[in-house]
């Protein structure tokens, strides 16, 4: 019997969408190309692309009863900024390791941004309204968005409207000055994107990250007990509990198009699976151009999918170690926290300078964590490492990348290099090839004003509906985008259900 809906890709968003559809009584089949579910969260080729997930949106966890399927979050991760001096420990608004004035300034800034992020946060679990030609519901939704900003009060609203499109460099310099703390915050604002701290728009990226409340606190990361596998496992169970199935090793080659309606998918190898509803967890460009095919869409949409900004700039490196190191100022428990090596914003900006010209930065900025085990590993995200390197991704470029990362690590954790016994590298180009993810971009498209809300992935296609009836986008390329919140999948399933009811 053919399913009611097919979900392409068993990333966390695909699984969330499938589970929500399942809860609503739809029979769902999730198709995953890899031999295991999880997408970027899962292990592929020896490393995990999304090594340090933000927590799933709590409302989604609750509604899908993921705790019943074994999901437990640990405490939010502490961010530890390693620089020249003593490590700076950041737990949300609380900071240790800086002078009192800076700590107070940071606390005030954190409160202020958290309030403003809260106003944005109310938009995360909603389908963005259409800018025009929509109905009353869209007008009301637009009004609500404006209202939630107005509800902030005059001072905060003015402040938000001033900083929302500005850069994190100026904001942090104004409020607390540069240094490891600013470096760590700027890392939050820029990681995964193609903008340096001085690029206007990075404050919005920071606010957006803080709007995610996954770990119970604005913008903090949380590791599920048992690691990312535990989250995937719980989501798969939720899908199965609602009557759905996940089929791995099933690479979707084509979305089948009938007379202007989606009819199912064709797998590599030729097997055709029929369903009146298809949700794609793939990148918008891959969904429209590769899977649906440009012949099925208008040239304008093809152009938008083609020009959307999606140059990934994070390389992942995993180093296997002979043993966990001793790092001055850190306990052994600290090694499992989120370690940021970006001594100040200038370092990040300088790294970005090179990437602008499609070159490798001499000193990448790093986010890393130690993973216990036999052997233990150090898992590193390095930015800015462009997907399309001018010199090409030769062995020499890869070696240079690894060497530059190790050199930066060595300064922050002297002696680490001597413990490295093996290196796995996933450049953005590797991630692109492996996952069919254009640009190897974590968030399935740059996080910027012009690719947000009703403009994500692009204007006129932001309500999860793709141009063909019955086809929905449920991945990070849709509002509200990346990190591991599950919100795009949740919203897309909600929209598909709503449209289905309306059609009846």
């Amino acid at each position: 019997m053919s399913p009611d809906a097919i979900v392409i890709g068993a990333g966390h968003n695909g699984l969330v969408a499938a589970a929500r559809l399942g809860q609503a009584g739809r029979k769902v089949l999730v198709l995953e190309a890899e031999d295991r579910p999880g997408g970027l969260l899962g292990e592929a080729g020896g490393l995990r692309v999304a090594a340090m997930p933000a927590g799933l949106n709590p409302e989604i966890s609750r509604t899908l009863a993921l705790h019943r399927h074994g999901l437990r979050y640990g405490k939010p991760m502490t961010t530890i900024a390693l620089g020249a001096g003593a490590p700076v420990r950041i737990d949300g608004g609380r900071v240790a390791g800086v002078d009192a004035a800076t700590a107070a300034a940071h606390a005030a800034l954190h409160r202020r941004l958290a309030r403003q992020a809260g106003a944005l946060g109310r938009m995360l679990l909603k389908t963005p309204p259409r800018l025009r030609d929509g109905g009353i519901a869209d007008l009301i939704a637009l009004g609500r968005m404006g209202l939630s900003v107005r509800m902030l009060g005059k001072a905060d609203m003015r402040d938000l409207l001033r900083i929302v499109l500005s850069n994190v460099w100026d904001l942090l310099n104004d409020e607390m000055g540069d240094g490891p703390l600013a470096g760590a915050l700027a890392m939050d604002a820029t990681l995964g994107g193609a903008m340096g701290p001085r690029s206007p728009g990075t404050v919005l990226a920071l606010l957006y990250r803080m709007a995610g409340q996954g770990a119970g606190a604005p913008g903090q990361r949380a590791m599920p007990q048992g690691g990312p596998e535990a989250l995937i496992g719980a989501l798969v169970k939720a899908v199965e509990a609602s009557g759905g199935a996940v089929r791995t090793g099933a690479l979707v080659e084509r979305i089948l198009l009938g007379d202007d309606r989606v009819e199912g998918v064709r797998l590599a190898g030729g097997e055709e699976l029929r369903a009146p509803l298809v949700l794609s967890n793939a990148h918008p460009r891959r969904t429209l151009v590769d899977l649906l095919g440009v012949a099925g869409i208008d040239a304008e949409d093809a152009r938008r999918a083609r020009v959307m900004a999606t140059e990934g700039m994070v390389a992942r490196l995993d180093f296997t170690l002979s043993a966990l190191p001793e790092v001055a100022g850190l306990t052994s428990a600290d090694l499992g926290e989120r370690l940021v090596v970006a001594p100040d914003m200038q370092v990040i900006e300088t790294a970005f300078n090179a990437a602008k010209y499609r070159e490798l930065p001499a000193r990448p900025a790093l986010e890393c964590t130690f993973v216990p085990g036999e052997p233990p590993r150090l898992s590193v995200s390095a930015q800015f490492v462009p997907c399309t390197l001018k010199a090409g991704w030769t062995k020499a470029s890869r070696d240079r990348l690894a060497a530059s990362v190790l050199a930066v690590l060595e300064e922050a954790m002297p002696g680490i290099g001597a413990r490295v016994t093996g290196t796995e590298i996933a450049t953005p180009a590797d991630i692109e090839a492996r996952f069919g993810l254009p640009g190897g971009h974590w968030h399935h498209g740059e996080f910027r004003v012009d690719q947000m809300l009703m403009l994500r992935p692009f204007g006129g296609a932001a309500q999860y509906r793709m141009p063909v009836a019955g086809l929905y986008l449920c991945g990070a390329g849709a509002h509200p985008g990346g990190d591991i919140s599950g919100a795009p999948g949740w919203n897309a399933a909600g929209q598909a259900l709503k449209d289905g009811r309306a059609a009846k």
């Binding site: 198009l257 202007d260 440009v294 012949a295 869409i297 208008d298 040239a299 152009r303 083609r306 141009p467």
Partner: protein, 400 residues
């Protein structure tokens, strides 16, 4: 700084000559030129009336070399053309021409033109406005090449009742079997000549296509052959009169391309333009199809209609009123038709007034010896075209 090589000369300023320029300039007694894509295009050579009547009575020659021409070729050329235009190009056989329009994603018209199917895998698109960027977008992702060949092909419109006779006299063997919209290859004076039975006059006519370097040879031979058939070189103004009578619309005059307008709400769809007959909704996806499917079910907000107007003064730039009071639209093209002896116009009329039988009036301004007068003239919505002669489609055509 590398060694100084010779600097590229500045691109020329002013209207540029077409391959036929020397001959046309010699015939252009009025020295009236217009700008057509940067080329010198004759507006009136001696007398517009005589030029017009030559279209309806003899054979006329108009230089269409400045027209934009694109070559679309490759294994997926048919798929690309079918994606571009609203008609079903799969039904267009090699050696045939089709009049087409193409639309944007909102179902608004980008441009109109003619598609020449030169072979299974090669097409030529002729149109008024540059379309390379649009064609590139349409063709993206397909195995096809798109090139601008405008400068590589010279063209002449040979139109009028004796045009067939002229071609026959030139020795074009078999030209009598050409049906409307046929394309055929010939050789004259050892030069390759492509002939299509197409045109914008609503009359018997052909278009001749050749390499620019052969242009003058073909011209001279054509004039020689046409001498006894009353062949005459004409300018744009006469052609425009025939064009209005024949029911053809002109971009930038009767409608604005959805790609060139700057003001919101100026784009127009085929249903508004009365070009429904060019839209085939039940073919595979083409650009704008989803929007057009919706629009097909709606009543257009306005319509481009043909008007027949009382009185005899052409209603240029006139506003149209309902019951002499309520503004209902405006005229885009107007003409006192010398052949039909009717005062005709195209006009945009807002939907509630766009049905035949409505009480419509056109406001005409007349100047009589420096005194301006305003006249309200009754107008009736009629069918396009205003002129169509059976000789246009007769095969073989008559040898007048």
């Amino acid at each position: 700084m590398s060694a100084v090589k010779t600097a590229h000369p500045p691109v020329p300023m002013g209207l540029q000559p077409t391959p036929f320029h020397d001959r046309i300039a010699a015939a252009n007694h009025q020295r009236g030129w217009m700008n057509w894509m940067g080329f010198a295009s004759a507006s009136v050579l001696d007398t517009v009336e005589f030029e017009y009547f030559a279209i309806r009575n003899q054979a006329t020659v108009f230089d269409i070399s400045p027209m934009m021409k694109y070559r679309i070729a490759g294994p997926e050329a048919e798929a690309v053309m079918n994606r571009l235009v609203t008609r079903d190009i799969r039904k267009l056989k090699p050696g045939r021409v089709a009049y087409v329009i193409w639309c944007d994603e909102a179902g608004n018209v980008v441009d109109d033109g003619t598609v020449f199917r030169l072979s299974d895998t090669e097409f030529r698109l002729c149109c008024q406005e540059p379309q390379l960027a649009w064609l590139d977008d349409i063709a993206w992702g397909f195995d096809v090449t798109v090139e601008d060949v405008s400068q590589g092909v010279a063209g002449l419109a040979l139109q009028g009742p004796t045009s067939f006779a002229v071609l026959k006299d030139m020795g074009l063997v078999g030209v009598e079997t050409m049906k409307p919209f046929d394309i055929r290859e010939f050789k004259v004076k050892a030069k390759a000549l492509t002939v299509s039975r197409t045109g914008f006059t609503g009359d018997l006519g052909y278009e001749l296509w050749m390499a620019p370097e052969d242009a003058l040879t073909v011209w001279d031979y054509l004039m020689e052959a046409g001498h006894l058939r009353g062949i005459r070189v004409i300018g744009y103004e006469a052609l425009d009169m025939a064009r209005i009578e024949a029911g053809f619309l002109l971009p930038r005059v009767d409608f604005v391309s959805s790609q060139t307008h700057l003001r919101p709400g100026r784009a127009r769809n085929p249903y508004e333009l009365g070009l429904d007959w060019l839209v085939t909704l039940d073919k595979p996806h083409f650009n704008g199809r989803r929007a057009l499917r919706r629009l097909a079910l709606e009543k257009p907000k306005r319509k481009l209609v043909a008007l027949e107007i009382d009185r005899d003064k052409a209603a240029h730039h006139a506003l149209v009123y309902h019951r002499q009071k309520k503004e209902a639209g405006f005229v885009t093209s107007a003409l006192w038709s010398p052949t039909a002896k009717r005062n005709i116009a195209y006009a945009w009329i807002d939907a509630p007034y766009a049905d035949a039988g409505d009480d419509l009036w056109v406001e005409i301004y007349l100047q009589r010896e420096l005194i301006w007068q305003r006249r309200m003239a009754r107008a009736r919505i009629v069918e396009r075209p205003f002129f169509r002669n059976p000789r246009r489609t007769a095969t073989p055509p008559a040898d007048f």
